[in-house]
Structures are given as C-alpha cells and as structure tokens.
C-alpha cells in the first residue's frame, strides 16, 4: 500500500486559536482590499456596459489601440492586453443604444492600414438587465446557502450548522478578497466558481463532521477536542487526496484553459486551498468553541 499521511496524530484543536488569528487576518485583508477598491469589481454582466474583444494581426501596441478607441469617441474606455499578442479586451459604455464595436474596429483599422482587425467577441448588457442579473445571482447564492444551512441543521446539529456556514462564508469571502486583490472582475462565470467553492467547502466540512459524529458515539470518554482531533486525523488523508486531485484539474484549467475560463480557475484555486484548510480549522474549530461555551454555560447554571 502506497500511502501518505497514515496514522498522523496531530493535536489540531490545541492550535485552533492560531488558526482563528490567521483566518481573521485573511478576512481583514479581504475587507481592506474590498474597501480600497470600492467594493467588488463587477463586470459588464452586472453593471451594464459593453465589452469588445479584438485581435489585431500583426500585433500593435496597447497605446495605439487606446488612441484609436479615443478617436472613435469612446474616451475613458478600459483597454486590457490579453495573453495572445494583438488580442485586446476593451470595456466601454453603450451610447444612445449604439453598438460601439463597429466604430472601434473601424478606428483601429483606419489607424493601422496594414493590420487585419478581427472582432472576436462583443457583449453588451443594458443597465437594467445588469441589475437584474445581479439580483438573480444574489438570489441564487442566497437560496443555495439557505438550503445547505437547513439540510446540515436537520442532518446534524445546529452547532455544526453554524460551523459549516461560517466556514462557507470564510472561503467565499476570502476568495472574493483574493479576486479584489488581483483586481479581477466578478462576472457570471466567477459567480459560478464562487458557488462551486461553496459546494466543495460544504462537502469537505460534511465529511469531517460525519466522522466527528461517528466517533463521538464510539469514543464517549474522550473530550470533545480529542474526538475532533481523531476524526480530523482519520479523514486527513482523504481531505488531502481529494483536494490534491481537484487542485490538479483546476491548475490544468488555470494554466491551459485560455482566457475565458481563466478567472473561473483562479477563483477555484484560491477556494480549494482555503476550503481544505477551513474544513479542518474553521468549521470544526468553531463547532468546538460553541460546544465548549455551551458546556461552561451549563456548568455555571448547575453551580447556582
């Protein structure tokens, strides 16, 4: 048998306060970054606006494209050079219901007579549709989290439910923070990634919780902290292996998947790493804190 991490015996729970500090710091960094960037950077899907992607062959400099876009009358547009030389993403606004793409393509072609300008992608979202899409996404996330909370509450215990949802928010929030730090946009695809992270996070948490529940029946004499340590140690190899395989796939998507899937994969990478960590520390650690607090409260009552 070829195995990693067999028979580990780590006292995870003793160090939980360090983990709480670490998580707190990460959440704080996320909050600071979000405040400094003025909230999450929503893409055209949610704000409304237009997005034009062009390919210029032979490639020209980004400044030349910027000048052409300015001349076309779309001053203040944002121009991003993509990984392929000559490929540009232009975020702009819709003026008077006019599609800006033909004007931009025209302007770039006129200023570079030798170059072939190809229109790869065009997206425009009216401001009302943008706010509707945002509403729909928020509603979807809200209900997804709500369903999970209720299910875990019914299947396990509300103490666990609290830990699970805290872990979920922790992972999703830190991923949002990482996206903000990297100045990446929140698009519909990124929302899909955030939801997937939530799914993985809850999956990981449930595997650990399930073992804790099983062990707390068989090991009645152990302290809650020890039961948790044992459960975490026993499931550790599974946690690591699963996270590793997911990490492998997402890494492949990130490095090879191309522009369209890049942000999705980036969000997933961050989410998988934090999801693995949080199922061990945040979810179980918090569940333990709640349990200990209840016990202290119970003892206090009895003394009276």
């Amino acid at each position: 048998m070829f195995q990693i991490l067999h028979g580990v015996n780590v006292d995870w729970m003793r160090r939980r306060h360090i983990a709480f500090l670490f998580s707190g710091a990460c959440v704080l960094v996320s909050i600071v970054s979000l405040i400094m960037h003025g909230g999450p950077r929503y893409g055209v899907d949610f704000t409304g606006g237009a997005l034009v992607e062009i390919l210029v062959t032979p490639p020209v400099h980004a400044d030349a494209v910027r000048a052409a876009v300015d001349h076309a009358g779309y001053r203040g547009s944002e121009i991003q050079e993509l990984s392929r030389p000559g490929q540009f993403l232009i975020r702009t606004e819709i003026r008077a219901g006019q599609n800006p793409a033909p004007a931009i393509v025209q302007a770039v072609s006129t200023e570079h007579p030798g170059a072939k300008v190809e229109r790869l992608r065009y997206e425009s979202v009216g401001p009302r549709v943008g706010s509707e899409l945002r509403g729909a996404a928020i509603k979807a996330i809200f209900f997804a989290l709500g369903f999970i909370l209720v299910y875990v509450g019914i299947r396990y215990d509300w103490r666990y439910s609290l830990g699970a949802v805290a872990a979920l928010f922790h992972d999703v929030f830190i991923t949002l923070g990482a996206l903000s730090l990297m100045n990446k946009e929140i698009t519909l695809t990124v929302v899909a990634a955030l939801l997937t992270i939530a799914g993985y996070s809850i999956n990981d948490t449930i595997v650990v919780f399930d073992r804790i529940r099983e062990r707390s029946r068989t090991l009645r004499r152990e302290t809650p902290a020890n039961v948790m340590n044992i459960a975490i140690n026993e499931t550790l190899s599974r946690t690591i292996i699963t996270s590793f395989t997911v990490f492998l796939t997402v890494m492949a998507l990130y490095t090879l998947g191309g522009e369209v899937i890049h942000d999705f994969a980036f969000a997933m990478l961050v989410g998988v790493v934090f999801g693995t960590y949080s199922s061990v520390y945040v979810a179980s650690g918090l569940a333990l804190e709640v349990q200990l607090w209840l016990e202290r409260a119970g003892q206090g009552q009895r003394k009276k």
């Binding site: 997206e123 549709v129 979807a140 369903f147 899937i261």
Partner: protein
Amino acid sequence: MTRSDQWKFYLTVVFVLASLWTLLPTFQFYSLPAKERQVVLQARPSEATTEAERLQLEKYAKLREKAIKLGLDLQGGMYLLLEVDTSKLGPVEAKNAVDQAMQIIRNRVDQFGVAEPSIQRQGVNRILIQLPGLLDQERAKALIGQTALLEFKLVKTEEESKALYDRIDAYFARRLRGGAAPDSAAPDSVQHPFTSKLLASSHSEAVVLSENIPIVEAMIRQLKADSTFTSDAQLAWDSHDTDVSGRTARGLYVVSRDALMKGSEVASAQMRLDLDATRPGAPGVSFNLTSRGGALFGDITGSNVGRRLAIVLDGRIQSAPNIQEKIPRGQGSITGNFTEEEAQNLAIVLRSGALPAPVNVIEERTIGPSMGQDSIDRGIHAGAVGALLVVFFMIVYYRVSGVVAVVALILNILGLLACMAGFHATLTLPGIAGIVLTIGMAVDTNVLIFERIREELRNKRTVLAAIETGYARAYRTIIDAHVTTLLSSFALMWFGTGPIRGFAITLSIGLIINLITAVGISKMIFDAWSVRRKLSSISI
C-alpha cells in the same frame, strides 16, 4: 455471482449500451471534417429539390438534432435579448404583441437562413434569440430589430403644407414670447421660429441642414407631445441624407397623418436591381399586393392622379413618387439609397410583416467563430490534461482499485454526455466547468470509499468485510455530500440565469449519475473481483 449481482451486471451493460447508442450521432457528427459538418449544420430539408436530396437532407437534420449541441460560447454566434416596447399599447394588445413579434421575428430569421435558430419568450415582454454559427451580426440585428411598418401616405399640397407651417411658427412664436403675439419688427428667427430652420424648396418638401436637425427634431417632438396641437398633417423625415451645395442635409415632408394603406396588404416582395430607370443597377424592392390591397391601391391612385404618394417605412419617407395614372394591379416598388443587403433585408421584413410594437436590444453577446474554436480547443486540452493527471494519480496511488475508480469515472462521463444528448441539452463553457467538478466529486467519492476500506483493513478485517463496511460507512457521507451539493445546484438552476444554469444542470446530472457509477457499479466490480477470487489481500 449472486442473483442480485447478476441483475446489477445486466443493468450496467444496458446502461453502457444505451449511453453509447445515444452518443453515436454525436461521435458521427464531430468526427466529420469541418467542411462536411458545416453542410450538415446548414441542411434544410424543406429546400430540397429532388426526393433523393430531401432524404439526404433529412438524414443530416436528424444527425444534427441528435448530436450534442455546442453553446454559442463554444461555436460562435449571436445572443440577443429583446424587449418589446408595449408602453403605448393596451393590456390585451400588449399581450398579443409579444406573441406576434415572436412569430414575425421567427419568420424573418427563417428567411435569413440561419441553421438552428432558437427564439424563446422570456418573462412577460422579452424575447431571447440565439443564432449559432457564422453570420453577419450587424445585418442580423438590423433584420430582427426593424419594426418594418410600411405605410402609404399622401404628400400634402403646397397650400395645406403652408397652413401647417404657419400654425407651427405661430405656436412656437407664442411660446417664445410667453403667449404674446410676435412683434412685426422682430427678426425672422423670432417670427418664424420653426421655418427659419428650414431651407424650403417647396412647402411640402423642405430641407434641413444637418446642424439644425437636432433642434428641428426636438420641436417636432414637442408638437407631438402637446395634445392641444392637432392636425391631419404631420412632418416626416426622409430616410436618407442629401447633399445641399456640399453640406449634408435631410429632407422633411408634410404628409397626411392617417395612412391610406398599410404594409399588411403586401403579399410578396423581392430585391431588384432594375427599378430605378435613372440609376441602373441600384438595389430596390418591388412588391405585390394582396387582391384586396390591389383594389384599394387602384382606388387610391385613381382618385389622386397628379399628387405625390409617400412610401413611409418606420416613419421615414423612402420615396414619394408622383401618381401618373391609376395603378390597377397591386404592384409597386421602393427605391432609395439602399445597399444590396439593405434591400434584401427590406424585402424579407416586408414579406414577414411589421412588428406590432418597437423592440429594443437590451442584452447582446456575440462570439466570433475563431474565438469559439479557440476556447473549445483550449477547454478540451485543459480538461484532458486535468483528467489524465487525476487518472494517473489514482492508478499510482490505489493500484487496481484505482483502475476500478477510473472505469467508474469514464462511465460517469459517458452517462452524463448521453443524458445531455438525450435531453437535447447544450454544452457550454460553464457546462464544461460543471463536468470538471463532477469528475472532482466522482474522484472524491472513490477516495472516501477507498480510504475507508484501507482503514477497515488496518483494523484487521477480512477483505470482504472491509469492502462491505467500507462502502456502507462511506455511503452515508457520500449521500450527505451529494445532497448538499445537489441542493445548492438546484437553487442555481431555479434562480440563476444563462451560464449559471448551464453549470448547475451539468453538475446535477453528473452528481446523480455518480451515485450510480461510483457507488453502484464500482461496488459491483469489487464484489465480482473479490468474491470470485476469494481474495485474502486487495490491491488498494
């Protein structure tokens, strides 16, 4: 093998065969060379001229239907969300208007010749249009969005026109001076606030320089909004700009408010190049009227010989020819500064009728075909590398059991794709992400089971007992994990939009199939393997 194992085995065989059978058209379709695939995509059996051709085209259409479709993000195409502006209609009219608009747009798109267009109603007054593949986006948009309300109106006589202009000038002059009558010594722009902006060659047909167009337009709007200003005449712009001694200008006509006849009487329309004798080769549209329309047209022309008849499209004057004589047969033509494509579009929209209300594009996404091809190549490449890495890792780490897991994984993906083909679902990029996550969950399921079996083996259980308890105990965790993920993806399916929903659908199908393949089928393989060989050790 016990009886129940036999059943499981047969069910598995049926599952695999059914999946392969459902996926066969997809394999056939995507293994065609790109050129031939295009032929299949464009095949329209209704256009066949011979019986043999019809059979061939029908075969193509069936193949296309049964193969998994690629979303616009993968094959390129155009996505349009239209909103029908029903603000000027009553509640009943508004309800019918959207249905009518959908029907008309469907007719137009059909005539445009796009393979597999999708036109769906969304919400109360929205229409979602998806046009896959290569197409001229601007032209498609113009074709779909054009109201195409064709009207025939009389151009007012000189006297009638002058009377209207006098009234308009008086109206604005009063406004400018707060209700008082204008001073006769005041400059022209005060006495004639409106007509001073026009270059009048005649009263019924004036010309406005382009720098004056916005202000004239604003004044016309103001008149329209004021219910106290009524008239049986109205002002209408020419559809094309003209040139007045080197400066751009646009014609402004005075026409009757009510139409003598509408485009609903048009029976057929064709693009022609020989309509304008003064400009040979200039594209135009000739049309034939219905018999009722023809009779009406005869009456109109007969009683108005010598006057001008304006052909008005969406409120703009296309042309205003003189009526030379009574036109008894319902035939006419529209000429103007059209390009060939514009004329072609016009013929199509006249044939399919006018939209009952204006439509606005509120969301548009177009993906060029090279972009689509590029993203699918990269997506498949990345997915394949990711999957291979996982397969490699599983086999190295779990040996023979790893192979069992990989078999289950392959069956899972096979079943998932077969379901998508069976439901006529569309594969999109977020859908591929959903498949990737399904693979992740499937691997996790096997890891959970195998780690549990290893634990049981370490607790000195026999191989058979370890497999039994390992599966039984892991099963509970797996169910919980799957149910939570399924619950959240159901929420996404119900409340999410477009890409989010595509992701949630593939993920949900994948997870349900995973419960069958990763738990049921892999257990069956394990049982068959361990029981038959009476194993004392297991490669895990």
